[in-house]
């Protein structure tokens, strides 16, 4: 097993810092360039994760609707994160029923390019990072326990960027899941006060139309 974080990913000072949070220096390499560099790594060895967003002829998700922000490969990684991170059983709904991937794609369609690019690249890193932790295979192909172990290792990594990748993707997945009405019965949440009807914004209607939801 490779030591946590893997020597090859360590920044200046091997991840240990005097000030703790901000002491990592990447010799001028920006966060975005770094994670994009990591995300592009698999393409150099035959993968097509990041480029997949533009090269796939059909960016259509399993629900039959188009994806606007994510590639199918990115959506698969995200789905794997969701299945690993979210509860199964105990009355909690499935990731599909809570539409986690669909909502992630929708939200990402409307944010600034820098945020969208970072999160797309983060999913690329996630898919190919397991080998650094001794797991042979892409993230989406691992078993649930291994996936959770990789996520735990990422979130607890001494490398700031890996922590950011693990934590941010997980936080968003959990946010979209528990905000979905399908999960409320299992949590004991009685729903929005007054049970007002859902009022779709212009952006929600636009996204639904563009992805073929009304068909």
């Amino acid at each position: 097993m490779i030591e946590q974080d893997g020597a090859g990913l360590r920044g200046d000072g091997a991840g240990t810092t005097a000030s703790g949070m901000s002491g990592l220096h990447w010799h001028g390499l920006s966060r975005r360039r770094f994670i994009r560099g990591l995300a592009l790594l698999p393409t150099a060895v035959g993968g097509s994760f990041v480029l997949g967003a533009c090269s796939e002829p059909q960016r259509r998700w399993r629900d039959g609707r188009a994806l606007l922000a994510l590639s199918v490969a990115q959506a698969q990684t995200l789905e794997a994160v969701a299945r690993a991170a979210l509860p199964a059983g105990g009355g909690f709904p499935d990731v599909d029923e809570a539409q986690v991937v669909r909502r992630f794609d929708e939200e990402l369609s409307f944010v600034s390019e820098s945020i969208r690019g970072d999160l797309q690249a983060a999913l690329g890193v996630l898919e190919y990072v397991p080998s650094l932790y001794g797991h042979f295979g892409r993230f989406s192909a691992l078993g649930g326990d291994a996936q959770r172990a990789v996520l735990d290792a990422l979130c607890g990594s001494r490398v700031e960027l890996l922590r950011a990748i693990g934590s941010n993707v997980r936080i968003l997945v959990q946010f979209f899941y528990f905000a979905h009405p399908a999960t409320w019965a299992a949590t004991g949440y009685d729903g929005p006060f007054g049970h007002l009807p859902e009022r779709l914004s212009e952006q929600r209607r636009w996204y639904a139309e563009r992805t073929g939801a009304s068909a």
Binding site: S22, R32, F92, R103, A164, F175, Y177, A186
Partner: protein, 529 residues
């Protein structure tokens, strides 16, 4: 004024809100004052100037969402009210940056706590940073008026939900000072949806107070319009070029507005005002631009109780522990404790679930007991010598570089310890620190574990809804971006009226400070008109 386009003559006579979909052709607009942003700063300045008889135009990047469009669902309302759907993080990825982007700004999703600026903070700003003309005597009349306008009053007993009662009880047991928090509310129905926008017009946000008051006095508010470029000439801003946003796509529609005015007021908020000026190429002229950035990062501790807490109903910050507002240091300058406000947490299920540092069935076990989950939150008063910087990301959006220096880390550790201590004192059976390390505490015997908790970016799950600095007020361009008149150094007619002028964070919720400062800004703007 005689060049005003005919199609807008009517709009000028009667104030109104103009939405992006109504703007189908590029056009020029004239006004005495153009305000960029419609939150606590921009709406207040607009209201003050409009009520004084001035012709005011307000530009707002976000949409206009009246209460009839609210459905109180977390993600839907987050998308309508928040910039970048609250998905922007600090450059280290460790802190979520929360800000409003809609007519009314962050006030539409804020918690409505309305603290007057502590006098010690005003003195610090005056003595160390040269913030003149913003002392207690100057600001008090503004607060007195705002107290009436926004119906500000301490939370009464029936507005203390169970978590606020426990917070108060814990503070009393431990001998910590705290008070009922002043609230800007009228006829609150205790829905618990402050962060989703108040359907009931009870929370006295800018959307239901200063914006309509400004409109009643002739102000024109343009929603879905993004300020792009200041057209400048020797220290004078002649005009502002702005882009109309197609709200459905959240992209520029291709229609542009050119606003000509005698004065321009930047009130885009703490995360956006400094980046706007950076995009104008003013960094060399204003070396302090983007500096002294603070954001009140938050640290949370969740607790599991034997009784129902129902964290998501009634108002959020009814009671506040003020004992630790200021950090204390010993004679040698070593940190002792404090540097934060301590509140009861209030979050709906999506946000609570996202802040749970557990996965799989362990996460399910906690979330299945949601009615019995309580929690506390601390707003960190960022130490003045460990502030961050606002820069520009490659796409021109804000990039927050924040150091989380040693004092900040010590404050975070101290507040986690205090939150745990308090929650155990009032009956919590188990605690969970909101952070990637998933520190779980089963009793006070576990408190020493907090001393070993790594405090680092992405380690604690934190959000930052109170940005400050970036265009700080001071004496000259060497030490600040704006002067005591809120005027940007080197400009005759460009002002800043939002939290970005604060040299440090306020140490309490900043909304009331922003509004009072905006009263002062409006007076200076009137003098130059």
């Amino acid at each position: 004024m005689s060049t005003l386009l005919g199609s807008h003559t009517e709009a000028r006579r009667a104030g109104r809100i103009v939405q992006g979909h109504e703007l189908t052709e590029s056009q020029a607009i004239e006004a005495e004052v153009c305000v960029i942003g419609s939150g606590c700063g921009g709406a207040t300045v607009a209201r003050q100037l409009a009520m004084a008889g001035h012709d005011v135009v307000v530009l707002e990047r976000g949409g206009y969402y009246p209460e009839s469009s609210f459905d109180q669902r977390e993600i839907n309302m987050n998308a309508k009210l928040s910039a970048d759907r609250s998905m922007r993080a600090s450059a280290d990825g460790g802190t979520l940056l929360l800000s409003g982007q809609n007519v009314g700004g962050a006030s539409v999703h804020y918690w409505a706590d309305s603290y007057r600026t502590p006098e010690d903070r005003l003195q610090l700003w005056a003595e160390r940073y040269g913030v003149e003309g913003h002392d207690l005597a100057r600001l008090t009349p503004a607060w007195d008026e705002l107290t009436g306008t926004l119906n500000v009053h301490p939370a009464t007993e029936d507005y203390h939900n169970r978590m606020n009662q426990l917070l108060r009880s814990g503070a009393q047991q431990l001998g910590w000072e705290g008070h009922a928090v002043p609230q800007a509310r009228k006829g609150c129905v205790k829905s618990g949806h402050c962060m989703q926008g108040c359907v009931y017009r009870a929370k006295q946000s800018q959307l239901v107070t200063h914006i309509p008051q400004a409109i009643d006095h002739g102000a024109r508010v343009y929603a879905d319009v993004e300020a792009a470029e200041l057209l400048r000439e020797r220290g004078q801003v002649r005009a502002l070029r702005a882009r109309v946003i197609d709200r459905a796509r959240n992209q520029p529609s291709g229609v542009e507005l050119t606003v000509r005015a005698r004065a321009f007021v930047l009130a885009a908020g703490g995360y956006y005002s400094a980046p706007f000026l950076l995009r104008q190429g003013l960094q060399k002229q204003l070396p302090m631009l983007g500096r002294n950035f603070g954001m009140n990062p938050t640290a949370m501790v969740h607790g599991l109780y034997d009784e129902d807490i129902v964290l998501w109903r009634n108002i959020p910050a009814a009671f506040g522990v003020e004992q630790f507002r200021l950090a204390r240091y010993d004679a040698a300058g070593a940190y002792v404790e404090g540097g934060y406000l301590l509140m009861a947490n209030q979050i709906q299920p999506g946000l609570l679930g996202s802040m749970m540092p557990l996965m799989g069935d362990a996460l399910g076990e906690w979330m299945a007991q949601m009615p019995r989950i309580g929690g506390t939150i601390a707003w960190i008063d960022d130490p003045a010598d460990e502030l961050g910087e606002l820069q520009l990301a490659r796409d021109g959006t804000p990039k927050v570089v924040y150091p989380y220096g040693p004092k900040t880390q010590a404050i975070l550790r101290d507040t986690i310890r205090k939150q745990a201590q308090l929650q155990f004192a009032v009956g919590a059976r188990r605690l969970l620190v909101a952070g990637a390390d998933a520190l779980q505490l089963d009793s006070t015997a576990d408190l020493p574990k907090i001393d070993r908790l790594p405090i680092r970016a992405g380690g604690l799950f934190m959000a930052a809804p109170h940005p400050s600095g970036g265009c700080i007020m001071g004496r000259s361009a060497r030490d600040s971006v704006t002067g005591p008149s809120h005027r940007v150094h080197g400009f005759d007619n460009l002002f800043v009226a939002d939290s970005s002028v604060f040299p440090t964070p306020v140490s309490v919720d900043p909304s009331f400070t922003i509004m009072a400062f905006s009263y002062v800004a409006a007076e200076h703007i009137r003098q130059m008109l």
